[in-house]
């Protein structure tokens, strides 16, 4: 069982720093000359290494154990992907090098685009976005460009279901759209009647995750697609849950016009404590001409090139060509897995999720509202525990930490009370799943006092997040 180290590691600035005399440099313009010492500690390399090493021992990663955050797809990150991305031949290349000297990089990007097209059923891909939300934002820009081109600027409304990820509404409003949120039906899926009533000649796009955040596949997807397109709107696919359907179905075949993927979820590039990620965007042919530049082209002689000649392109949404090092890892991952491997990843991700779900729900200790058949993730409710002994979902989550396990996503999606959203992924073994089940069930029987006081085995006890917002201390100068 995982146990965190418990150091009282001082801040960098409180480590013993050598006093250095600094001669201020006077060749810069007088008005810009630095006259004040920089307040950065002067440390020995050993101090630096030990400091960060100790801190790493108080941090839980997927290599420490199961990390079943719903909609986050925390799967094992193969080491070979890391190693290759670190090769000097790739890492030490400049974005403005002569294209004849970066043909390897271009080949990887070109082929990765083709792979992602095949997996999603889209016609074209753009690798520029740095994260899923960045991809959503690009999707919204493409939506706007599309409607403007058709002289339909009046379409200023985005529809999302109430189960949508928070980034969907945030990306839509950032792109200047008005939002309409529609409630799910009793099955936890899109309510077709409400959708139909909500769609109008003002609708620009309907954003959907499929399977949705409850882990339920939207079986009416073809009807939804027809309805949205009949209204003249576009259909957007949030690819956060793509790990459920690789090799089983393609968003393109479902009728989606725009798709974003999270390479740091489905394609196993590490999350890095919150990035770098990559959120490529795929489109069908009617949106192709609006995609960002440069597009990667292949010439007749087999060489690759960047194409900037695209008059309807929206331009750029990030510097250079995207998070290339992440693209590279995903390319290696997809090549390793191949068509069978990716399909099997989705199959076992869904199987693991359903196994976990059944073993937990059949005990009656946690409830699962909405439809039974789930994909790669499911959402259970701690409402029963709340009613019985005022134990909240967060208490259960914190207690899991005491057993050395990472909790699921809590309090999301918002339509499930006291929600625990669980996504085990395909890289966990039965033994690990069984352990998780055993502990979750055990926690449900534990005394309220224990759960309210959890965690106790972590380096610190439960954190006061409220005062971190009320009285923010955000740098060491503010202490």
């Amino acid at each position: 069982m995982y146990r965190s180290a418990k150091y009282e590691e001082p801040l960098l600035k409180d480590l013993e720093s050598s006093k250095e005399k600094i001669k201020f440099f006077d060749k810069v313009p007088k008005s810009l000359k630095r006259k004040k010492k920089l307040n950065l500690p002067n440390l020995d390399e050993t101090q630096v290494v030990r400091h960060f090493h100790r801190l790493s021992q108080m941090n839980y990663g997927i290599d420490n154990g199961i990390y079943p955050l719903g909609s986050c797809t925390m799967k094992y990150n193969p080491r070979i992907c890391e190693e290759i991305a670190n090769w000097d031949k790739f890492a030490n290349t400049h974005p403005n090098q002569d294209l004849s000297t970066v043909q390897g990089n271009l080949k990887i990007m070109f082929e990765l685009e083709r792979m992602l097209c095949e997996i999603t059923g889209m016609d074209y891909f753009c690798l520029q976005p740095a994260a899923g939300a960045h991809g959503e934002f690009l999707g919204m820009l493409l939506t706007r460009a599309f409607h403007e081109k058709n002289n339909e600027e009046k379409r200023n409304e985005i529809i999302i279901p109430d189960t949508a990820h928070g980034t969907n509404p945030a990306s839509a409003t950032m792109a200047g759209y008005n939002l309409t949120e529609i409630p799910s039906n009793k099955n936890g899926t899109v309510d077709l009647d409400i959708l139909e009533k909500t769609l109008s000649d003002k609708t620009a796009c309907f954003m959907l995750t499929n399977p949705n955040t409850l882990g339920i596949f939207e079986s009416d997807i073809l009807g939804i697609s027809k309805m949205v397109h009949n209204a003249g709107a576009l259909l957007y696919y949030d690819g956060a849950n793509m790990n459920a359907i690789m090799g089983k179905a393609k968003p393109g075949d479902m009728g989606f016009d725009i798709v974003h993927l999270n390479l740091h979820k489905t394609f196993s590039t590490p999350h890095g404590g919150g990035g770098p990620g990559s959120g490529p965007v795929g489109v069908n042919i009617k949106l192709e001409k609006f995609l960002p530049v440069p597009r990667i082209g292949k010439k007749q002689d087999g060489t690759y090139t960047f194409d900037y000649d695209a008059p309807d392109s929206i331009g750029k949404i990030k510097g250079s060509y995207g998070n290339f090092s992440v693209l590279l890892k995903a390319y290696v991952y997809i090549s390793l897995m191949g068509k069978e491997g990716l399909k099997q990843a989705s199959e076992i991700a869904v199987l693991n999720s359903n196994y976990l779900k059944k073993k937990i729900v059949e005990t009656g200790k946690y409830e699962m509202p909405y439809k039974d058949i789930r994909k790669h993730e499911f959402v259970i409710s701690c409402e029963k525990l709340r009613k019985e002994k005022n134990v909240r979902a967060m208490d259960v989550a914190k207690r899991l930490l005491d057993y050395g396990l990472h909790p699921p996503t809590v309090y999301f999606p918002l339509i499930v009370k006291e929600a625990l959203m669980i996504e085990p992924t395909e890289t966990e073994s039965k033994k690990d799943l069984d352990k998780y089940i055993e502990i979750l069930l055990k926690i449900a029987d534990e005394k309220q006092e224990i759960l309210k006081n959890a965690p106790v085995n972590t380096p610190i006890k439960r954190v006061d997040e409220v005062s971190a917002t009320k009285n923010p201390i955000l740098t060491w100068d503010m202490i």
């Binding site: 440099f25 994260a131 331009g315 503010m478």
Partner: protein, 446 residues
């Protein structure tokens, strides 16, 4: 299967949940869209993929194989082994965004330290723990200005990269914020303060400058600029090169309200332009309007010091459509690299590094200008990038240089038609004397 332990016990697991076959789990997918398989290749073994990638890698030339003197942002810098070693700690790189503070104290503390050091080198009160890159950081800064003062016009220098202009246009389109360009002084290469005054009306939300600017030149009229920006009731946004901070005073000292920058050079390889690190810092009074994740110091229930994500109520996972930004995944590990790098350097080495960048650039500048036909373009003082007018078409010169494995400067004519035959050169501490000599000899040849 390689990373799928339960693939060998599929049948057993299916039996446990009373299903006959795996298809039962996908019965809710309409038949019409169900597929049997993807048209991709068969999977490779690890040995095979390694061999394949080695072959592809041969199609690249690294900046060790080339001498690279391209300016315009990203440049090769030295990366200490310590940084690579720390960011390869799996506890860090395989972790998710630190939602569960008690299991993420290590990463949270490093982000707090990163924020503290960014605040120090920018002269700001607070910093967030990263945005995507310096380019999108500018866009987020422009959006933030309008959130703060509700005005709808943003001023930028004419001489910034076209990438930044393009990204900015896309980010400001939705909220309908007007972008106005301020011209640069053709003699000095600095911002034309006369033109700035003219354009700086009371409708302007923010004024952006880069220091050093896109031509590598120091904007030394900053005190005057700050005065007129503040007088017009606008916010002052400054972009820095972190490598210059050892020798120049911080934008905070000359009145900036928001400071941004590209932090990739702080301990990360060039990676063909990404992964990147967007630096973003501001004055305390604007804190609640700031985009991105922020880490704070607080207490645990026993009163012990503890870190957690602070001000989450501004963020998309809580506030949804009314969030200050849609940022979720940021560039956490890149911020960690910058944190390790800055602590490895310390005050003294950062100061020396800034000097070295400055000196190497001035050394190369003089050598290039001593070649017949190569002329300086601007009179302004510069840091580690500079513009040179070449005797002939700069693209052609670069085509010849690359045959000698030399990557020349960034041709500027396409972006700035005024600057015919001009190139932007960039130099860092990594360029040794012999690199510079090799480069000069190749230039002479062409």
């Amino acid at each position: 299967m390689k990373f799928i332990p339960n693939s060998s016990i599929k049948k057993g697991l299916l039996k446990e949940i009373n299903l006959e076959n795996i298809d039962a789990l996908f019965s809710d997918i309409p038949k019409k869209i169900k597929i049997d398989e993807l048209a991709l290749n068969e999977g490779l073994s690890q040995q095979e993929i390694e061999q394949k990638m080695r072959k592809i890698a041969q199609e690249n030339k690294t900046c060790n194989e080339l001498s690279c003197f391209t300016g315009g942002g990203i440049k090769p810098h030295y990366i200490p082994s310590v940084v690579k070693s720390i960011i390869s700690r799996a506890e860090f790189f395989t972790a998710y965004t630190p939602y569960q503070s008690e299991a993420s104290q290590g990463f949270l503390q490093t982000m707090f330290e990163y924020q503290s050091m960014i605040a120090e080198i920018t002269g700001m009160d607070v910093a967030n723990c990263s945005l995507y890159d310096g380019v999108t950081a500018l866009s987020e800064a422009a959006l933030m200005c309008s959130r703060v003062n509700r005005k709808k016009e943003f001023l930028i220098p004419e001489n910034i990269s076209w990438e930044k202009k393009s990204v900015l246009k896309n980010y400001l389109k939705g909220p309908d914020i007007k972008i106005t360009e301020v011209s640069y002084d053709r003699k000095t290469g600095k911002i034309d303060t006369g033109d700035l005054k003219k354009k700086l009306t009371s409708d302007v939300s923010g004024v952006y400058i880069e220091n050093p600017n896109f031509f590598g030149i120091f904007e030394d009229d900053v005190d005057e600029i700050n005065k007129i920006v503040k007088k017009a009731g606008a916010l002052f946004v400054v972009s820095i090169d972190p490598f210059s901070t050892g020798i120049v005073r911080t934008p905070g000292e000359y009145g900036a309200d928001i400071v941004i920058g590209e932090g990739k050079s702080l301990g990360l390889p060039m990676d063909f332009g990404g992964s990147t690190l967007g630096i973003f810092a501001c004055k305390k009074e604007f804190l609640r309007r700031m985009p991105g994740r922020i880490i704070g110091l607080t207490n645990d229930s026993a009163g012990k010091k503890a870190f957690c994500m602070a001000l989450q109520t501004r963020e998309q996972h809580i506030r949804r459509g009314r969030a200050t930004s849609n940022i979720c995944t940021n560039e956490g590990l890149c911020a960690l690299a910058a944190c390790v790098y800055l602590s490895w350097l310390g005050e003294k080495n950062l100061s020396n590094l800034s000097k070295k960048n400055f000196e190497n650039a001035h050394n190369l500048f003089e050598k290039i200008c001593s070649i017949k036909g190569f002329e300086p373009v601007f009179k302004g003082d510069y840091f580690n990038e500079f513009v040179i007018e070449c005797p002939s078409d700069s693209l052609k010169i670069n085509n010849k240089l690359i045959k000698n494995n030399v990557q020349g400067g960034l041709p500027l004519e396409k972006i700035f038609p005024d600057l015919k035959n001009c190139m932007l050169f960039g130099v860092t501490e990594l360029h040794l004397k012999e690199d510079i000599e090799k480069f000069i000899n190749s230039l002479k040849e062409v």
